[in-house]
Symmetry: C2
Subunit: 382 residues, 2 copies
């Protein structure tokens, strides 16, 4: 097997993807971005081939990817859908982590007609969480409940937020305000963001606080499980502060008159939080995730669990968020390259999990990259 792969996007996650893939036997990797500095960093630090191109142009994407066997996407969510379409039209297999706002599977028919296999939302959550949820829904008969808990956190906790953002604070605030869709009794139910806080213990992390966020995405449609929710994890106390900020109006996008001009409080808050929520060079981050599923196995009610705890890698210099997200995509990409999954269509990971053995093969690849997911099984709670 010899694969000529292209990674679109030379940001932190794209860099991690390219670095990992370049170490796999048989892979030749090129990173593409419009930003010369980003490309230079990748070339200098990890010795990876680069190419400059305007990935905001779908026609340029289509021309570009035609030269490669395998395409990985780590671009902005804003151009996620148009890029997906361009890659499908070019007829290339694709693994994407752009987390676009649109429903990627509206291009499913196009992908099928072109014979293209595209896996979208293939990071850690969404991503690995979807794969495990999909796997559980298949492995269990009468799967009644799936819960996903996930968070990216700084290893060192500093007052008052005890939080740093792996991405733009405005996107985090969006998580703290958008109503959270969960599934209860087989129906979509809307909960307030930051609602239903609960304290949970995580080995290696201590006690964290979980709260509702709008994270189910495609799972809510693709799995027929009567109870499903995703909650975000933070160190205890963060939520209470964010609830107070939100209540005060600091997250409001509605302009208010201030000193003769109109200002969105959200913009002011984002500007103030940005420097405080940005990881310092060398600052260690962690990714923690738990997926659990209740159902029947061998005639018994069981609760299956999967726990992930990952830490920034001081050797490669990659943050945990880049590792867990980027390596999910590369783990999936090698499965596509090896032909272990090649079904035409646009697939979120829970649909990939329908293929027997695929989840185990994925977790083996993921663990080979240092991201270990520990599976457990116990009697289901009453």
């Amino acid at each position: 097997m010899s694969q000529n792969a292209v990674v679109m996007g030379a940001g932190m996650v794209g860099s991690a993807m390219a670095w990992d893939l370049s170490k796999q036997p048989g892979f030749k990797v090129t990173v593409v971005d419009s930003r010369p500095q980003a490309l230079e960093r990748v070339a200098k630090r990890w010795g990876i081939a680069t190419k400059q191109a305007d990935l905001g142009s779908p026609s340029e994407v289509k021309r570009l990817v035609a030269d490669y066997d395998l395409v990985l996407g780590a671009l902005s969510s804003a151009i996620g859908l148009q890029t997906l379409r361009a890659v499908i039209e070019a007829g290339r297999p694709y693994v994407d982590i752009s987390f676009m706002g649109e429903n990627a599977w509206e291009l499913d028919a196009l992908a099928k007609s072109k014979g293209v296999c595209a896996v979208v939302d293939c990071g850690v959550a969404p991503g690995v969480s979807n794969l495990l949820a999909g796997h559980a829904a298949n492995a269990l008969s009468d799967c009644t409940n799936i819960e996903i808990y996930v968070g990216g956190l700084p290893a060192e906790r500093y007052w008052p937020f005890e939080y740093k953002a792996g991405f733009a604070p405005s996107d985090v605030i969006e998580e703290y305000t958008r109503p959270a869709r969960v599934v209860e009794h087989g129906k979509m139910v809307i909960k307030e963001a930051l609602s239903e806080p609960e304290l949970m213990a995580f080995a290696g992390m201590g006690t964290l606080e979980a709260f509702n966020t709008d994270g189910l995405r495609s799972l809510a449609y693709n799995l027929k499980v009567p109870f499903m929710k995703e909650k975000t994890l933070r160190y205890p106390g963060h939520i209470a502060l964010m609830r107070a900020f939100r209540h005060t109006g600091f997250f409001s996008p509605e302009p208010i008159p201030v000193g003769g001009v109109k200002v969105k409080p959200l913009d002011v808050t984002s500007a103030l939080l940005f420097p405080k929520w940005t990881f310092e060079d060398g600052e260690v981050d962690l990714t923690v995730m738990r997926v659990l599923a209740d159902g029947t196995q061998n005639g018994k009610r069981v609760r299956l669990t999967w726990d992930l705890l990952d830490r920034a890698d001081p050797v490669s210099g990659f943050r945990s968020m880049s590792r867990t997200t980027g390596f999910a995509a590369t783990s999936m990409a090698v499965l596509l390259a090896r032909g272990e999954f090649q079904e035409p269509g646009v697939h979120p990971p829970e649909l990939v999990a329908r293929k027997p053995g695929l989840t185990a093969a994925f977790l083996k690849e993921y663990e080979a990259r240092g991201v270990k997911v520990t599976a457990g099984s116990a009697a289901a709670p009453e």
Copy 2:
């Protein structure tokens, strides 16, 4: 005794002053303001005589007060000093609660030369707190320590602030940011605002939290007591939230670029907090204060304490803040009118307290208006 008194300012505190004074035998009261609506409210609701005048003009103040025997001031701090000068130049006795930023006693020589007695900072704190501190410093030999704890609070506590402001939120935020001057070992020491929080129990209130604010003002200069501090009281938790707000930058007056314009975060925060920190019509407020002083009395080390707990009066409709502030001024005013205090000069209350019997006479007047200060005495702590 027949007194023709004028109250400058028809706001909540000025109204309370006028209402109280108009009920005292022998007093004829006129309220003056530039705002017709404010005057109309006072005339309609309490049947008090009114007069419209531009009190922002010192010459108009001077002309106005010449027609009265006694002057009370409840004007904005911004015009406090110029108004004091105008009243002194008119040769009229004056009790003021404007809490001007400037040092009022720079007009002391002028007042002495005109034979005018003016008492400034004559609210609850500054005001009654100064009187009690001054009294203690005189009553005790070797007074080593004076502590003042004071807060205005809503009776009902609502998440997340458990606070409403009796005045503009921007003035409260000023309290939360201005370095706090305290006296330690006889020297002025600067502490961070909101620092040194401590939980304290108050009968009738439960547990409150006290923190450093810059409230000593003239006490730091006029009393030779080696340890003095004033702390502000809030329901527990408020300070932690305000510290987080301040740390985030929400209290910063430095403009930052946001969406193409420059904005002061403090202005945005004030605009957001204003509606949330404003008392609703009929909402009940409380004033709580404790003054304590350690020293030697009859050869023993003692701690003298004075506790005040006041509540909005549903009958008169006056908030507790208006009562405790306004009635402090009227209690002092009747002492001036009766000739019990008439020393020429500009006096903060701790200097008034030098006159034997004056503090007791004041507290009797204050209590007659429903504001009770409970005195206690115990062995001083080791």
